[in-house]
Symmetry: C2
Subunit: 369 residues, 2 copies
């Protein structure tokens, strides 16, 4: 017979999930209620309002998709694209590549704008590409989890709008840990995840769509290829006057996100972003003192995801295994082009504390000598 | 500032979610670990094995999709169908209709086999339809949540296989409450939900695919239209030797399902199914004594989902609202063709107890006089 769960607790310092606050774990264990219960509708309304505040947007359709961040990505593309449309995707890491894969599965024509992994997309690249084609949308990753690059958005946003396209942004790793100003930056469609700087468990994807995006959806000639992610129906459940049933909402996960968002707003966005920056600097100082090099140039470094080069002669798998098994600290391996070449150290949400930084620095000193 | 969650507890006697065992709520609050942590891989392995036992199958690819039951439905169709394929769908309620919608979104040719709502599909209907066409798959709902009909499967399964098609079955409401013999009944692909007779929270979809289904997938000429639900990648995370990252697994929900499945198997499948039947009979006796009529003929009634006709002159919305507000009992309204005509009373998993039956009968007597 299978035994009751009793995993050893970890310090989660990888690319997500991050540590979850005990109050969020407590909220998860709130007794079940129905997905059409007026009490649950009220909870959904509160989640929407707190998500709007976090995205810094007034968009009515700001809610959570009932699946993880990658499903949020897919939601944007399957609702905004129809077969034959053209989509431009900026790629400088794993998640830009994932966007390309999804765009092609939508039957859309893909135009890639590539930058080297570890560097941001230069506005000039987008400008050049927009001169040669007229895409329906341009998509970009704000915080590339595979490389630790923070992508400046405002200049590119203006170019995209001048070209008459929609601007779609991945904020999976940035939301809750640094500024994400959806309205001010002219983002038309945006998605994120719950398990990074929001510090809820993985399982839901916060999303927001402005009226221009909704108009594009209303003008579709074809049905959205995914039933589960079809916003024309999901909207009715989240924002409709009658709150019509679409699928059974993931009640417990919505409880968790509700509490995690409460904690975010109790701390305050500015204080939270400042904390992420402060602990990043502490980690940076400590690692540089040990001789580590960061992958990304200083001005484009994400505070919550630190990609560092693995020194020559270090057996990276052994070090990660010892961190996990002897110190209960999880850090992330390199992904894609960077497999075996970098470590990814997350300081996200509840995992962004001076104690986390001290624990990791101490353990690395123990192991590397 | 939004307040901490504190919803009034309910007795969940609708079409799902059902009541959740306190041990499952406790499992939900287990501290977070990473989706690639060896401890989590072990938990996934245990979930797969317990899910196999529940589906009564040896299929290696038996796991949970990271989204609700409707996403499990979509997973089956998007992976098994390619544009231009033909799919036959049996329809006698809302969920058969949903299957049709998804089949069309896959670009497949749809052949419907319709029976009146509240009645099962007759094997002869399928036979006739199979004589006129040669579909790639035939899909049917085992337990139609919108009507309370239990669909016999073995005779139809044989016809489907004789015609060289795959047999795809929706067991969202039946799994964990009555027999679902995937291997013995020749089911090639099957999906379910966690929030019905398994009594975990909503949010995941147990699925199982046999080798014939996997071969069909391996022979695809086109990519699966959904990235998130593409089993060729999901398989590598759940059953591959290297457990390759696809998306971030919904850790807390997997914890919950792990505990809920443990409880299912501690009770034992036969005892559990017998309990569902016993409480169904108690409810039936009580409701018939009050003059209520069941929608479905006795031999096709689901033990866990009881559709009863709303008596003339009864304001159904007022009664349901009073049950919820005064007694904290949730029952389900009619869906689709049956809106305003039937109530749906669920006795699923933890909600299938004599106390639940007594509470509901007592409250209905209070309200209806």
């Amino acid at each position: 017979m299978v035994k009751e769960l009793n995993p050893r607790a970890r310090f989660l310092m990888g690319p997500g999930p991050s540590d979850v606050n005990p109050m969020v774990l407590k909220a998860l264990s709130t007794p079940m209620i129905g997905h059409l219960d007026p009490q649950f509708i009220e909870i959904m309304d509160e989640v929407m309002e707190m998500t709007r505040q976090l995205f810094q947007t007034n968009n009515q359709l700001t809610s959570v998709i009932s699946a993880t961040g990658s499903a949020g990505m897919e939601t944007c593309f399957v609702n905004l694209l129809e077969p034959g449309d053209t989509a431009m995707v900026c790629v400088n890491g794993v998640f830009g590549n994932r966007m390309c894969d999804i765009v092609e599965r939508c039957g859309a024509k893909l135009i890639r704008v590539d930058a080297p992994w570890g560097e941001p997309i230069a506005p000039g690249q987008v400008k050049d590409a927009l001169e040669k084609s007229k895409p329906k949308l341009v998509a970009i990753v704000h915080a590339e989890t595979s490389t630790g690059v923070l992508q400046p958005l405002t200049e590119i946003s203006k170019m995209v709008h001048d070209a008459g396209a929609l601007f779609v942004v991945d904020t999976v790793t940035s939301l809750g840990g640094t500024q994400v100003k959806v309205d001010e930056w002219g983002i038309d469609a945006v998605y994120s995840g719950t398990q990074k700087c929001i510090s809820a468990p993985p399982g839901l994807s916060p999303v927001s769509f402005n009226t221009k995006s909704l108009e594009i959806m209303d003008q579709r000639k074809t049905k959205v290829q995914s039933w589960y992610l079809d916003l024309s129906m999901i909207r009715k459940y989240w924002t409709g006057a009658k709150r019509a049933y679409h699928h059974t909402g993931p009640i417990s996960m919505v409880y968790a996100v509700h509490e995690a968002l409460r904690i975010v707003h109790q701390e305050g966005l500015e204080a939270r972003f400042e904390r992420h920056l402060r602990n990043h600097k502490k980690l940076l100082d400590g690692l540089e003192a040990m001789g580590f090099e960061f992958l990304v140039a200083p001005e484009y470094r994400l505070p919550m995801l630190n990609a560092i080069k693995i020194p020559n002669g270090v057996d990276e798998q052994t070090v990660r295994a010892r961190l996990l098994n002897e110190y209960n600290i999880e850090i992330g391996a390199g992904l894609g082009d960077f497999a075996g070449k970098v470590w990814r150290i997350g300081l996200m949400g509840e995992s962004s504390t001076p104690n986390h930084v001290n624990l990791l620095l101490g353990a690395l000193k123990d192991i590397l000598g």
